[in-house]
Symmetry: C2
Subunit: 714 residues, 2 copies
């Protein structure tokens, strides 16, 4: 591992604040400096960067270059052009080929590829997502769903950006429900062609990146029909535009999705097909093939499992978004905490000296709880990426591994993307009017990341997928249940695996191993108690819903669906509780890797803050279910407040460990300018007071007068 301090000084792109290479002691007010723990910032930075730290550093070096930065206030048409140009810079720097086959110039490296991709959000989220469309979705689909000939024919052009392309899956009528897409690809044995067709308006492909302007080709997802049988969703390579004129080819048309809430560097658009004929060979046939005579064959007999396998590549998008969302949260917190440590407002404790914002309890609550969650999400994200790498490298890619990966991504992506939006907003508000200026980036990042909550799998739908898995783990009968949104989405999974185990975490088992929850309720502060409380909640919630839903699959479909629907909210709550537990466990596991005692102490406070905040948020559940007494519950808030005070002296270290330089932050209020302004103002008043020229305050004059008036009477 390369320590930050070991990097060559004067590296042109890393003009960053100096950091001490070794722990610096912090003077805590009211505590002796010797007794206070200190954070080893460099080591913590290394821990956060994780397994692919070198790749991340290289990606950050790129993301720090001005030519890759978002230019704020640019009209969307120009922004699109800029981002397209930036993609070429990524190609030139070999930043986006890691996941492709070695024989084509790639590295067959999946985890590192996504790690690097996640960091691109620092430059411009549009750049990250446009790169994701080109290489993570379009290129990846050709790579994973196509076979040798396809790779040779198209991957070089895709990798070099000679063929900008689309991943044409989503339709106007169907977002998250991919199985229901209505575009058809009907085989015509007479000409050995597929006829790609859009039967009605709702079947137009929609929100498709690269579709409005740049896409010359697309991987189109359509129902494969041959010899009168619909074999379900398959992927087809379809040329869209003439490479010279950039005009749509015959039978193809579309629309520009126009301006969006963010990510306006990407040309999202709509596509539709009128009896478009493509060669039989354009079926990406790794998991399903059609012979010249129209005979269908597949290495995967079950249509459900085949569908699940083909959609498996989508998980890469979720893993990427998860990590990118964590990175954005880190950017926001570094800026907001830096500013709050310099900004003074209202003189609370002294008549001449105003309070630093970060010393206000509410400000600490707002920022430190989110800092704790960001650490948890960061460690969880790293675990997800390692799992992803295990599966995609082939080291551990059984059906069960893939399903665990799917479920883990479905659990973490909703939490981290929602958390990023919440954090960006809270940080923006914590910086007041300055937070609203684009020059400080909160509003810009928030607008761009908004859609992370609903694309690559709607967060609410993903949590239902997790709930489905939890139910299946709870009782066998739910493994094949087929009601409502849960079932439809994951039917492939449920029937694909022989046995579900509690693959993610032995929730049901834990409580048996660790003894009663009562113990936890006595001392909520320690690790074991937090674990017991968090785990018990997931287990109990799942068991309760499971009991309520017992027999649902024996009811007529409509009644069964109604029963599931009447518990939908609880199911989603349970899934979220499960995901939070996973984050807490990841944080705790990471703690185990910290050797420096000072760092470990401070990180333990932060982990406790995370755990206790979760318990506080769900305190009513613990009380209603008799897990915490009234008296015990009342201590949670106080304990959190005490943790805030303990963390305060280390807040800057904890955000410095994110390892960003000014070229990454690019926020005026994170530059120290506020401190300079405050110092200048205080110096002005100090000089004025010293000179004796300061005007007298009318209030003081009045007080003196009233004193004089009263004096004679005395």
């Amino acid at each position: 591992m390369t320590d930050l301090a070991d990097r060559p000084a004067g590296s042109p792109t890393t003009v960053r604040a100096k950091k001490p290479a070794s722990p610096r002691p912090v003077a805590t007010p009211g505590a002796t400096a010797a007794a206070a723990p200190a954070v080893d910032v460099a080591a913590l930075e290394e821990l956060l960067l994780g397994k692919w730290s070198d790749t991340r550093r290289a990606a950050r070096e790129l993301a720090g270059r001005p030519e890759l930065h978002k230019t704020e206030g640019m009209p969307h048409t120009e922004h699109r052009e800029r981002v397209f140009g930036q993609l070429k810079i990524l190609v030139e720097n070999g930043a986006v080929h890691r996941a492709f086959p070695v024989e084509l110039g790639g590295a067959d490296e999946h985890g590192g590829n996504v790690a690097g991709f996640q960091e691109l959000v620092i430059a411009d989220p549009s750049l990250q997502i446009k790169a994701g469309v080109q290489w993570g979705l379009f290129g990846s689909a050709v790579n994973h769903l196509g076979t040798g000939e396809h790779h040779k024919k198209w991957l070089p052009g895709i990798m070099s950006l000679d063929i900008p392309g689309c991943f044409a899956m989503t339709e106007t009528g169907h977002g998250s429900d991919v199985a229901s897409i209505a575009t058809t690809a009907t085989y015509d044995a007479a000409t050995e062609e597929f006829v790609v067709h859009t039967p009605f308006r709702a079947a137009w492909k929609d929100y498709i990146g690269n579709a409005a302007i740049d896409g010359l080709a697309a991987v189109v997802f359509a129902q494969l029909i041959t010899s009168g049988v619909n074999h379900g969703v398959h992927a087809f390579y379809v040329e869209l535009r003439d490479p010279t004129t950039k005009e749509f080819l015959p039978g193809i048309d579309g629309e520009d999705d126009g301006v969006k809430g963010g990510l306006n560097g990407i040309d999202n658009g709509r596509l539709h097909f009128t009896q478009v004929r493509i060669p039989r060979a354009n079926l990406l046939n790794r998991y399903g093939n059609v012979d010249a005579d129209g005979t269908y064959s597949s290495p995967i007999a079950s249509p459900g499992r085949r569908f699940f396998t083909m959609l498996g590549t989508l998980v890469q998008g979720r893993v990427s978004l998860d990590g990118a969302a964590v990175t954005a949260s880190k950017l926001a917190l570094k800026t907001a905490i830096q500013y709050a440590s310099e900004r003074r407002q209202f003189n609370a404790s002294s008549p001449t000296e105003e309070e630093v914002l970060l010393d206000y309890q509410r400000h600490q609550r707002r920022l430190f709880t989110r800092l704790a969650t960001t650490y948890a999400a960061s460690f969880a994200s790293e675990q997800l990426l390692e799992k992803f790498d295990d599966v995609f490298s082939g080291r551990a890619d059984t059906d069960e591994d893939r399903q665990d990966l799917e479920t883990l991504a479905a659990a973490l992506k909703p939490l981290s993307t929602w958390h990023a939006l919440d954090t960006l907003q809270e940080c923006r508000e914590a910086c007041g009017g300055a937070g609203f200026l684009i020059e400080n980036r909160f509003a810009s990042l928030r607008a761009d990341l908004d859609v992370y909550a609903t694309f690559e799998g709607d967060n609410t739908v993903l949590l239902q997928l997790v709930a489905k898995r939890l139910l299946a783990d709870y009782a066998k009968e739910f493994r094949t249940v087929n009601f409502g949104v849960l079932a439809r989405y994951v039917v492939g999974q449920a029937t694909g695996a022989a046995i579900h185990r509690t693959g993610l975490r032995g929730v049901a088992q834990f409580m048996a191993d660790s003894g009663s929850v009562q113990k936890a309720a006595i001392a909520i502060k320690d690790e074991a108690s937090q674990r017991a409380l968090l785990t018990d909640r997931v287990q109990t919630m799942v068991a309760e819903v499971g009991t309520a839903l017992k027999g649902a699959n024996k009811l007529p479909q409509q009644q069964g669906a109604a029963l599931f629907n009447s518990h939908q909210d609880e199911l989603i709550e349970a899934a979220q509780a499960h995901a939070e537990l996973l984050q807490w466990e990841a944080f705790t596991e990471a703690l185990g890797k910290v050797t420096d005692p000072g760092t470990r102490k401070v990180l333990t406070w932060l982990r406790d803050l995370f755990g206790l905040s979760l318990i506080e948020e769900n305190l009513s559940w613990y009380l209603m279910n008799g897990r915490l007494s009234m008296q015990r519950a009342r201590t949670v808030g106080d304990y959190i407040n005490r943790l805030l005070v303990k963390i305060r002296p280390h807040a800057l270290d904890l955000v410095d460990a994110f390892g960003f330089g000014p070229e990454h932050l690019r926020a005026e209020i994170a530059t120290g300018a506020e401190r300079l302004r405050q110092d200048e103002a205080r110096e002005y008043f100090r000089t004025q007071r010293a000179s004796g020229d300061a005007p007298v305050d009318e209030k003081i004059l009045l007080a003196r007068k009233s004193h004089r008036t009263r004096a004679p009477r005395a």
Copy 2:
């Protein structure tokens, strides 16, 4: 009052969905049509439009005109020009002069003026806020803080927009803490001039609307110094730019704040002054005057009370934002609920028919709870506006009235502006990818309204002002307490009034009148119980913090401040609980005005949903404090879920009652286009099934095969 149905048909700007003039019965699934209540949409619309319904309708007619609409995706430079042009349209239509003196062509009408202003958000929030800067802040300051000569000299030009101007109060170094601004206006008796000066960078005026481009003049807030005495913040009329060249006048300079997170139709900027000399007469001298010889005089002896009085006009901005935020929430909910009633996704209860989104429990939870809060906020906003009108019309403008108004605005503005952001975001996510397209407006409105949470008084600071008042009502000792953020902001209030009573709501008294809380815990569903539970929480929280802070003002300043700070979070929570109670009471009071039994029944469900949602959010408090038993608490969630089902058939009526036409909504997904697409798709599949040409699903084929294979064995 004019009923909507009475308006001339074919009015060019009101192409709106037809609404029945009388209640329409709703067929509830599983209930007979006769038994179901029906909402009288037209009457409910009238109730929501409130006292100034005619003014609101006139403002909406204007806001519906295309020339006033926001053009999405416009660069900020063009957007600014467009909005400036739109201000002239407002002038031509007499839309912005209501609050000015009758003798100058105004109407001395304050409530109606703000009501009309609130509706402008429908056209473009930039237009609303730019109009607010010109007439609500700049013009209003000249009107309220200036005297006869000032009015004659400047108001005509301000009203006609010949003098676009700024309200230059906020400084880079001081946002919400106005008393601490550092710009000085020092009187020079030799020349009978004030010298306006910016002593250091932090004292630059910042985030000032009209400052970057359009402002020819400004009301500048500065410390008034004469004869060596600082008399505190006063307002001065300062010319900024040459009307012909638009260049800054000598000694004045500034910067453009550039692109912002939203509201980019406004040219916010920075201003600073280098020994700028202005005539003595440019002091807006209603509350403080300087004679030629430099003698200061004021009709208000107490500097604190004088400060509070001069800042009193700021409340108008808060009242305006409160109502505008409610209007934006209504726009979002109408669009999202309309779409959710048409959009189908996942076939849960039938193999061929997909479920309408609004039938999913989670979707109902997401949208109906926010609908209930929007109704509560709307009724509370109307009460605030009436109070504002009472005070500003002079009908009821004692110090106490003004303080009640201040506190009420400080309580409601944070809740409604945060609620608008939350609602816009939830609606955007509930509409998936379509919600992210600017054509559906959620993202655009959210970006523009973002800053409503921190300008015209930071929400967190405003809630602390409310907490201060609650403490003062609780115990006399807190009336003059002077620690931290609370005290500094409202010091004028605290010392200005002789006696504070529980002016807003007799919280302390209520519990005594109504008997024990135990009763409430038994039947949480009825009105009296909800009131008891919500009121008890406010009362108890305030009493607890009050007890904890007892004697704080006898401690040395630093310790006293530390004690306050250690309870800051609780104080803010108590203030929020108080504000929520006010909303609940406003909703309940409005219910009393509903005569139609069907409407009253449905609105009562909605009010109950609001009340129980508040109780659910704070359930842990009720449990920890023994107000609800475990058993009782567990029924809250179920009861909420049952309310969702009851409200479902009336959801469209409840959003139709907001009274928006397509010219206000301007969202593609609110036009019924989704229903047409869904119908087309279903018709396609129905025809295909009927024709017998439909391809067979491979899964069905496999099922048949397996049936045939098994058959011989049987």
